[in-house]
Symmetry: C2
Subunit: 647 residues, 2 copies
Amino acid sequence: MMIKITLPDGAIREYASGVTGMEIATSISPRLAAEVLAITVNGEVFDLGRAINSDAHIKLHKFDDVEGKHAFWHTSAHILAEAVESIFPGTKFGIGPAIENGFYYDIELPDGRVLSENDFDDINKKMLELSQKDSTVTRKETSKADALKYFETKGDYYKTELISELEDGTITLYSQGNFTDLCRGPHIPTTGHIKAIQVLSLAGAYWRNDESRKQLTRVYGISFPKQKMLEEYLLMLEEAKKRDHRKIGKELELFHFSPKVGMGMALWLPKGTMLRDRLEGWLTAELKKRDYEMVKTPHIGSVELYKTSGHFEKYGKDSFQPITTPQEGESFMLKPMNCPHHVEIFKARQYSYKDLPYRMAEFGTVYRYEQHGELHGLTRVRCFTQDDAHVFCRPDQVKDEFKKIIELVMFVFKSLNFNEYKSQISLRDPENPSKYIGTDENWNKAEQAIQEAAEEMGLKPTVEIGEAAFYGPKLDFMVKDALGRTWQLGTIQVDYNLPERFELEYKGADNQMHQPIMLHRAIFGSMERFIAVLIEHTAGKFPLWLTPQQVVLLPISEKYNDYAKKVLELLKNYDIRGQIDERDEKIGRKIRDNELKRIPYLLVIGEKEEASENLSVRKQGQGDLGAMSIPDFADLINKEIKEYFNN
Amino acid sequence: MMIKITLPDGAIREYASGVTGMEIATSISPRLAAEVLAITVNGEVFDLGRAINSDAHIKLHKFDDVEGKHAFWHTSAHILAEAVESIFPGTKFGIGPAIENGFYYDIELPDGRVLSENDFDDINKKMLELSQKDSTVTRKETSKADALKYFETKGDYYKTELISELEDGTITLYSQGNFTDLCRGPHIPTTGHIKAIQVLSLAGAYWRNDESRKQLTRVYGISFPKQKMLEEYLLMLEEAKKRDHRKIGKELELFHFSPKVGMGMALWLPKGTMLRDRLEGWLTAELKKRDYEMVKTPHIGSVELYKTSGHFEKYGKDSFQPITTPQEGESFMLKPMNCPHHVEIFKARQYSYKDLPYRMAEFGTVYRYEQHGELHGLTRVRCFTQDDAHVFCRPDQVKDEFKKIIELVMFVFKSLNFNEYKSQISLRDPENPSKYIGTDENWNKAEQAIQEAAEEMGLKPTVEIGEAAFYGPKLDFMVKDALGRTWQLGTIQVDYNLPERFELEYKGADNQMHQPIMLHRAIFGSMERFIAVLIEHTAGKFPLWLTPQQVVLLPISEKYNDYAKKVLELLKNYDIRGQIDERDEKIGRKIRDNELKRIPYLLVIGEKEEASENLSVRKQGQGDLGAMSIPDFADLINKEIKEYFNN
């Protein structure tokens, strides 16, 4: 029997039923066959060797696809396990998945041995050797009894625990070389694709994420189809480590975490507060130009509010628990979202169609519970401040409002030197209309409006069908940082749900009451996460207009502290901000320490400077700029800031 | 036997044991005897007729003392009850205390009758009649059995409930005319002192503040020793009603309370947010000039933090309850205070004696549970933002820091036109040193420093011995508003406790570790309360530099909306802020509505204005100022602001 295979470009080819992904790739081009790693068949990712038995839409994946990388790294995890087992026979294995960048395997060495960095070389050598054998990776469906028997015989008690919870008939094993693993797949066809593979680091990980169970060793690794790609990745990792916002945040005294206050809740130190306040102030000024109105709301709301909004159900046992009070039946929640508060502000008065759009903005703090182990610097926190806004508008205003918000997003990205960004439109699945709230007419209108707005603003968004939230379609923005890493930032979402639940209304030109549409939008996303991204993007060298300290004055001895104070006051008149390094240290040490703190300009103050009333100026990364008068220096600074915004 | 009576001025007089307050007053002067209402004997307030049986320090109270007013209004409450009983025989009485301004009695009329405003005239007439009888108020100690019998006979079941919970031997009854009440006193000697007395309002009040018990009618009243005082008071009440910040806040769209978000938690509307942001921005600029460093902290902290600080014990069952999380043993509290968070920031690094003082400031939001019935607009809320700061300093810096803070407080009061203020220093009770934490030496030094600082800054504080907190002495500021009402605002407090509990330290010049002293201070107190006071002080006519809208442009018809937009943009270049009243209303209506909104300047925009490029300017309270060019108008505004700060 013949089946029809539809390629991504719409072309249809006929093959005998039972054809494999590899056979399809070979039939298209031998070169493709040499590079292909996995195949998506009707939305599901398969091994290339697995038979296709009916008509299907397919997509072949090379390493540059997420799906290709995933299979590649998944097989690499098995290679890691095979290598460890051959070096340390009797090792017990937990789980070994592919992750966003690379893979890991949770292991327990025999006889209480503990893996250390000293073992990395041996493992790396063995992994490369196993890869180069170019073993075929084979998939085998098996009965639960057989699977249990196999791993019981091997003594792999973590695997038998996993198998015992699986349903018979769903169990598959994958093998390469001498190693067989319980696995759902998919995997790449042969290990020879892996040309470069390496262990990166170790961590502790409780079995099944349960602190009462045993702690295994999590071995992280990375692999690539080319040696050069590994080298580039390791360089990037090294650079990323230098730019780690947690490290720079500490060096620049921007923020601090105190376990006693609470994990995952940043304390903003004076310099970090200045940075954040400047960012907020700058964005607020832009919002006001664009006719947003600023509001302020408390950080808690009654449970009733969140029952009406529907958030109460979503933030259940896994979340911060409600706050009760001495009054029976009264309880509050830490705000998981700002929207319900803004809706209550909207409801404080009445509206005619002329009063819309109403753009309401707040730097609003929300609280989301994250497991201790999931917390990470400012990027995964338990309390963060969104640059949140809600636009209440008529259906005919959606397109225009989207265009205005897109303009703002692009303005902000450009102003902060995020020159590469992508966008994605998420639409509903037209085959599942019952999944969504809101009328067909409004959905169609809004989806069209978003697409037209994006096009008219010159965006080239990818469009994902079925990725919309149940309450409305949306447009998301992702930026690339200086290391090429992608970060999700801004979002614009249409919401038909809250206006319905809170019974919002305005009086139309027809004198009838109508329901407004609500847009949610954030540009930075959260101040915490955005500042983390900004630190890693700039390596802590913030633009001159934004940086907390533009200059530091370095008196060469205590004798010149007073004159330095005078100079600092004069600079303040030119809107230049900074401080004096009054420490009793040699000038060389003062220069070094302040350069490490990424201070853009250092001003050495000594006898010559006091006598001449000139400044000796050093610029970060450029060294000595020579002597100049205070007005000339102010010009220099203000020109640099002006040029920054003109670029 | 003779006893020694010491007067407030230190003079000692001898009297026979058993002498009464009234006899002492009479012996001093007949005029005093005519005015005196109560007496404090060794710290306890007595009736004037009560015998004094041992040596005592005394103070005689007239109506201008709090103690005198209290007795006066307490007796007035009994007069109210007597009047109600005579008009509605069979009325049941709850409690009837003196309050800050006047008195109330909780009553239940017989046969399910409900008191209404229509009854006020009758009650007022009867009260005055009873007062004018000049009945003597007599005190009688009684046994529990006799007291129970008396009120049981009368059928006064609320009173019998109260008596049944009292200990025998502690029960006193007070009588005047035909009315006897269970009461601890003290009372004024005769009812004739009450020359003016009046019922003010009614409210519902659950018996014993318990919602499951019966709701009684709370009858509020006021009384004075002179008719003229009552008239002045009623005028003030009327003016206060007009200035009620809840009323003006609604009219000016400053803030809103939504029961769904939560009672007692303000939602700041756009104009209120502008007002608050301007106040915060202005104070922040002043703080930065004075070398404060701004920080930002989350609104929750772990229970452990508050156990260390000692706040956990203080905010118990009566408070917002702790927030638990999915992790066993982990729990957080809504911040009742900002200090522990600031202490954790302080602890993030090390300090030498040269690094102090460290002045750390935050507009920090705290949460305090108040009973529903206690909430009142912005003055009694459940969530408020303090203009909080903590100064960590050496013992030898306390005086200088106090002087700097006093300077700031005086600057702020002057800038906001609070021209009358008082201050009070609270010192420890030297006879109870064990009540206080911190060394004698530090207390002595700090108390002396505060007193010297206050004197050197020209304050004339009252000094209250024994009023210091257990953790340190303090200085409080009270302002008088335009109606002569007093509001407690700023406070400066020394704290030896938190540095001890958190083991704070710095390295001294002697290379040894020392404990810094912590000063708590707030100027506004809370933003919510301060804005309430500011609204009532200014009747919503905020100073021009602070007001959210300096101008409103009034196009005389839709035709001029576009030109109005152009003018508004031009005004923005001069830092003048405002909006356009684009409503389709007659110009007269627009002027009236915007004058009601206390907009300082109204600009009428029509054909003449567009042609001449001039503005037609109307000023709040002054009417038409005629035509002027935009630059001239900008000058006018900026001059008015400058003059405001120069006054």
